[in-house]
């Protein structure tokens, strides 16, 4: 580490491009970001017609929808490192110190010899709306000073700035307008959920039908929650036998579901209601295997409903058949 890095690290963490992951997003969103990248790359051509590429973007969306992962991926695509600014590093306790920290942050980023993406996580805690209630005038004045500094520094800064917030509504209006690209990241749909599960279950391989069923049971879940679930299963597989835990399918799944909760702002996925009785879990092959399952065979041999459920189906049909 050199002194330039230390200069930046007092404001947060530097993430390297090589550490970035692919985001998992719906196709529509991906198009937006690809066109943004293309725009940044076309800066020279845009200059000829007197415009600049958009350099500031703000990502909204529920907690755990992959805002940081996406920003990191975009930085890596551009071949830049990313400074993940921690809100605690710029919010200082003394009067005027927060504004000073914002100024120093932009100075440090400008001094840095390589281009770098400036990423503000939990931006609402830095750029909350300016206040004028008069209840606590000195605190309000200090906060307003910080926002004004942020505005003036952002105007002069030419690098890429990305901000992420779960509460876009709380952001200061003028700060919000300084961003040219406003994107709200949606919760993953069925296709994205399948891809997320496949990624985080690796190296364990699930059959296609198993993934589809599991993804359905995760409806309304955030990527972060799905990741937690998959990683906890992997942890259990490794640690369970050492700790003499019951490694049966139901016991393991219930243990994980009891210790992982969906965020209160998001819906409760079906899996958390039915737990190990869920259809997707009943059909899940256990223990998980690292070999690629022979999907066609598996689906041909095991009907989608169990024998018990078949009886129910037959009975219903029988009832319907009756006039």
């Amino acid at each position: 580490m050199n002194y330039r890095d230390r200069d930046l690290q007092q404001f947060g963490t530097i993430l390297e491009p090589e550490e970035a992951q692919e985001p998992i997003l719906p196709r529509k969103m991906r198009k937006v970001f690809l066109s943004w990248l293309t725009e940044i790359w076309a800066a020279e051509q845009l200059k000829e017609v007197g415009v600049k590429p958009r350099m500031r973007s703000i990502f909204g969306g529920k907690p755990g929808t992959g805002k940081t992962t996406l920003a990191h991926h975009l930085a890596a695509r551009l071949g830049m490192r990313m400074l993940l600014v921690g809100p605690e590093k710029v919010n200082c306790r003394y009067m005027g110190a927060s504004a000073e920290a914002i100024g120093e942050l932009f100075d440090a980023v400008t001094r840095y010899p390589d281009p770098i993406v400036l990423f503000f996580d939990e931006f609402d805690s830095v750029a909350a709306e300016r206040m004028n209630s008069g209840i606590n005038p000195s605190t309000e004045q200090d906060h307003n000073l910080m926002i004004n500094t942020l505005l003036s520094r952002m105007d002069r800064y030419e690098g890429i700035v990305i901000a992420a917030s779960n509460f876009e509504g709380r952001l200061d209006g003028a700060v919000w307008r300084r961003f040219d690209l406003h994107v709200t990241l949606p919760l993953p749909g069925q296709n994205e959920r399948i891809r997320i599960l496949r990624r985080y279950f690796a190296p364990y391989q699930l059959g296609k039908q198993e993934l589809v069923r599991l993804a359905e049971s995760f409806e309304t879940a955030s990527p972060a929650l799905m990741r937690q679930f998959c990683e906890n299963i992997k942890r259990n597989i490794i640690v369970g036998p050492m700790a003499n835990w019951d490694m049966g399918k139901r016991a393991t799944i219930d243990r994980i579901l009891d210790s992982t909760k969906p965020h209160a702002d998001l819906g409760n996925p079906r899996l958390w209601t039915h737990k190990s009785n869920d259809h997707a879990i009943q059909k899940l092959k256990w223990p998980l295997s690292r070999d690629r399952p022979d999907e066609d065979d598996q689906d041909a041999k095991t009907p989608l409903v169990s024998a018990e459920e078949m009886n129910v189906v037959q009975l219903t049909h029988a009832r319907k058949a009756k006039p």
């Binding site: 790359w41 076309a42 991926h73 890596a76 695509r77 551009l78 071949g79 296709n191 399948i194």
Partner: protein, 218 residues
């Protein structure tokens, strides 16, 4: 306690009398010690040094080592100890060939069985090893040139810059496609951020893969 013939009174007297007896014996022993020292002195030994040696022999080996090191350290700090000959010779190695040879000779004995000593003083560093018969071998040592992790004249010395491949701009797209075929991710783009070949590489990778580099298509 009410009287001198009580049980506790008798016990206490017993204890005190035993200690008085021991005192008498200790006096006799220290008188004997004085006689031994007198005998040593009459034979020409320095009794102060002897007492010092007895103290040192009583100490545990690591306490003794620590004590000696501290004595040396404090002695040096106060300028009380002369510079040890080896150190003086090492200091002169750069200018005096004789000193250089004497140091090398002194260090020969210290060469480990499976290791080496490299002395980098003066113009020519030397390396001392042992051959298979255990004899110390002294050879001239040339330091391997460390590849600088920082390319060019970047005085800010940032993280090591990855090597930029020598690919012409018109071939950058094909280079990206080649990376895709080699199963490398799109972010393994080797061109720096401001290089015009970077977007071309990205484009080539995307065209070859048929997706946007943000995960497989459904």
């Amino acid at each position: 306690m009410t009287g001198k013939n009580t049980l506790a009174g008798n016990q206490l007297r017993g204890l005190i009398e035993r200690i008085e007896e021991l005192d008498v014996k200790a006096k006799a022993i220290s008188a004997d010690k004085k006689i031994v020292f007198a005998e040593a002195k009459s034979n020409g030994f320095n009794t102060i040094i002897m007492k010092n040696m007895i103290k040192r022999r009583k100490m545990k080996p690591h306490d003794l080592e620590e004590h000696d090191n501290l004595m040396d350290l404090y002695g040096h700090a106060l300028g009380m100890l002369p510079e040890p000959p080896l150190f003086r010779a090492v200091g002169q190695m750069a200018v005096d060939t004789k000193a250089r040879e004497s140091v090398i000779d002194a260090l020969r004995q210290l060469v480990p069985q499976s290791g080496e000593i490299i002395v980098k003083i003066g113009d020519q560093p030397v390396r001392m090893t042992r051959d298979k018969d255990g004899n110390a071998v002294v050879t001239d040592y040339t330091e391997p040139r460390a590849a600088s992790p920082y390319t060019g004249s970047d005085s800010n010395a940032l993280r090591p810059k990855p090597e930029v491949p020598d690919v012409k701009k018109k071939n950058a797209k094909a280079y990206g496609a080649q990376f895709y075929r080699e199963n490398k991710p799109v972010i393994s783009n080797p061109f720096p951020a401001d290089d015009p070949r970077r977007p071309l590489f990205d484009q080539g990778w995307r065209e070859a893969s048929g997706n946007d580099g943000m995960g497989d298509d459904d």
